[in-house]
Amino acid sequence: MLQAPPALSLSGVTLALGGVPVLNGIDLVVPAGSLVALVGASGAGKTSLLRLVNRLVAPDSGQIRLFGADIAASDPVQLRRGIGHAVQGGGLFPHWTVADNIAAVPWLLGWPKPQRMARAAELMAMLDLPAALASRFPAELSGGQASRVGLARALAARPGLLLLDEPFGALDPETRTALADRLEALHRAEGLTTLMVTHDIADALLRADLMLVLEGGRIVAAGPPRAVAASPHPAVRALIDQPLAQAQALAGMAP
């Protein structure tokens, strides 16, 4: 039986920016439909790894394949329209309404206006955004609302691959959990493949199908969260031991 290609594969990818090595010998296979959490200290290369996938930067060497096709052969603008990317901090267009922001990629793809607006309304409902916000501008939104709009924009054109760079970065824990739940449900329901950079280790351990730990531009641990959590690598331990101890202490407090 012929096996379907993985959603994403990287082999021997290296990247230097301004002469400084950022990623070094990255090999990675992401099966279709998986939710992948990228964790690691600041500057480990997580954001750069995402940016390589939709050609915002080009690798110095190595190959990146998306659903089997080498992305170096694709037109970068077309490639990006097929990948949902929520950049760090949201990056909403301040001069566009919420609905226009959400429907940005469908607009680029030439969807007719009624279809775009229907999709925006659908996503707003899915992400618990009040419909009245559609005609508002980003400056009028709360942090949680802006994050939802950023997420909705990434999802709007039904991409096969979703790249999320700290999508819940600046949110309070309650909002974050609610939004992460909603995202996970969407991910499963729409059959997405998702790469998510996060600093929330506990959340990553509990939700991800696959967890990648980066340190100094290398993947030092990769696999199902349970396997990664058991890794003796000092970088992994530095990330995981503290939330683990906290969780155990909290479990002891439970009534």
């Binding site: 950049v87 760090q88 990056g91 267009f93 301040p94 680029l108």
Partner: protein
């Protein structure tokens, strides 16, 4: 009726046209530079530094500097590059408008958050889509702010274009200054200020429309600008229809005698059915260069000035020997025809209050040299760098306690107010007629004669023949009275009126 009122519409239209053209040119240069700046800090530093340096040059000097630059360019390339009028005004004003445009543009683009740029790329916008839908849209309010500043500056600085022979509202201002007709100065200034306010308001409406993404204010702004453009176009059309063929242009330097003589000749030629335009307020050297280049057809100049400035001579010859050489060399070197010697002299002289001269026992420049080290000299703006001053110093051993440059019209006032003890004066100056002032003449013949001459541009010998009838017709006494009529503070006459008096007095009518 304020003098200059009838010239206002044409000056206003010309002013608006040159300002708009300069602003348009500046935009064409600034836009690509600004768009190339992000990610190129060296370009940003270099361009902004240069634009800032340009801004430190006074606008008047910048305009004047383009004259020799364009002459050099013409000589180097052999192309027919005009060095006066539209081109230097356009270039200097455009250069002047660059800084606010660059600041506004660069500031507007720099204010766009990095996350927004990144998102625009990440969602798959093409470079053109990023530019129009994100970068320019977001930068527009700041860019428009820069454009408004540039527009106001340009409209203000365009008054100076008069000095290089480009008609503008400066025509009214400079003529008014020279004639001490403050109402005319005010008229020119208020027209320029009003124009700046209207354009600023129109651009402000556009800015508000862009910033709030609302069409009505933007359309109102555009409509106002279109109205101004229609005004210019209408004036241009009318002016074009009115003058079939190019009129004869008489250029004047910045003092009353020149205005009066230009009006005298203009009235005379118009009686012969010739269309005449007077382009007033040219810089001293620029007037000669203009007639040599054919930018103007007739100018009034002085033999001593031409001798030292145009021919570069430092020797002093008697009048009878000097004039034939002047006529020959002007023709040979510049193609300029010396059409007539008017008959009076406007010589450089030194002047003192009569009371001071009597107290110090000064009757000649030789006497003055003796007491000069205790005295303060006020000169016109160019005297200290002219060959005549070097010659006076050399011949008489003149040296003053201090020397300060003044606008010519203020020099007699400086003497009266005690701001200076000795001033440079012109022998035909009307202000001297009333003042209790002694003129010291050049008793050692250190200075050349300053006979007033009519010059005609190359290829206009027809005009030369027509102007020959002025030969020897104007005496210095008559000229001095005509000058006084235009210069005096009370019962002031316009240059045209003084010219009519002079025509009757000299029998030239």
């Amino acid at each position: 009726m304020i003098a200059g009122w009838e010239a206002l519409p044409a000056a206003l239209a010309a002013h608006l046209a040159i300002s708009a053209a300069a602003l348009g040119l500046a935009l064409l240069v600034a836009a690509p530079l600004v768009l190339l700046m992000p990610g190129r800090p060296w370009l940003r530093r270099g361009v902004m530094g240069l634009a800032s340096v340009v801004q430190t040059v006074p606008a008047l000097a910048l305009l004047a500097l383009f004259f020799p630059l364009l002459v050099l360019l013409r000589n180097a390339t052999g192309l027919e590059v005009p060095s006066l009028g539209l081109l230097p005004s356009l270039l200097a004003l455009a250069l002047y408008a660059l800084l606010p445009l660059l600041r506004g543009g660069a500031g507007g683009l720099a204010a766009i958050p990095d996350g927004v740029r990144e998102a625009a790329r990440a969602i798959g916008m093409s470079p053109a889509q990023r530019l129009f839908h994100v970068e320019l849209s977001l930068a527009a309010p700041v860019v428009m702010g820069g454009l408004r500043t540039a527009a106001v500056w340009t409209i203000g600085a365009a008054t100076l274009a008069t000095m290089v022979g480009q008609p503008s509202l400066g025509d009214l201002i400079f003529a008014g200054l020279q004639l001490q007709d403050w109402r005319q100065v005010l008229l020119g200034c208020m027209a320029a200020a009003g124009l700046a306010l209207v354009v600023d308001a129109a651009l402000g409406l556009c800015e508000a429309g862009i910033a709030r993404r609302r069409w009505p204010p933007a359309l109102a702004g555009i409509a106002l600008l279109a109205l101004l453009a229609a005004g210019v176009a209408g004036w241009w059309w009318q002016a074009r229809a009115a003058s079939a063929g190019r009129p004869v242009v008489i250029g004047t330097k910045t003092f009353s005698e020149q205005y009066i003589l230009a009006e005298l000749i203009a009235a005379d030629l118009r009686r012969d059915g010739i269309a005449v335009e007077v382009r007033s307020g040219l810089g001293s050297g620029i007037a000669f260069q203009s007639v040599a280049a054919g930018g103007i057809d007739i100018s009034i100049d002085y033999s001593g000035t031409l001798w030292t400035q145009a021919l570069g001579r430092t020797d002093v010859l008697p009048r009878s020997a000097m004039l034939p050489i002047l006529a020959r060399d002007l023709k040979a070197r510049y193609g300029v025809t010396l059409a007539a010697r008017l008959g009076f002299e406007n010589a450089y002289a030194l002047a003192m209050k009569r009371s001071d001269a009597q107290r110090l026992g000064v009757k000649t420049i030789s006497d003055l040299a003796r007491v000069a080290p205790q005295l303060r000299l006020a000169t016109d703006l160019e005297f200290q760098s002219r060959a005549e001053w070097a010659s006076l110093k050399r011949s008489y051993g003149l040296g003053f306690a201090s020397m300060r440059a003044y606008t010519p019209v203020l020099m007699v006032a400086a003497l009266k107010d005690g701001a200076a003890d000795v001033i440079t004066a012109y022998s035909s100056d009307g202000a001297l007629a009333g003042a209790d002032v002694v003129l010291f003449t050049d008793d050692r013949g250190a200075l050349p004669a300053y006979d007033a001459l009519l010059l005609v541009a190359p290829g206009r010998d027809d005009l030369g023949r027509q102007l020959a009838r002025y030969e020897g017709r104007i005496r210095v006494e008559a000229m001095r009275v005509a000058n006084a009529q235009a210069d005096r503070a009370t019962n002031k006459r316009s240059p045209a009126e003084a010219a009519r008096w002079l025509a009757r007095e000299t029998g030239l009518q």
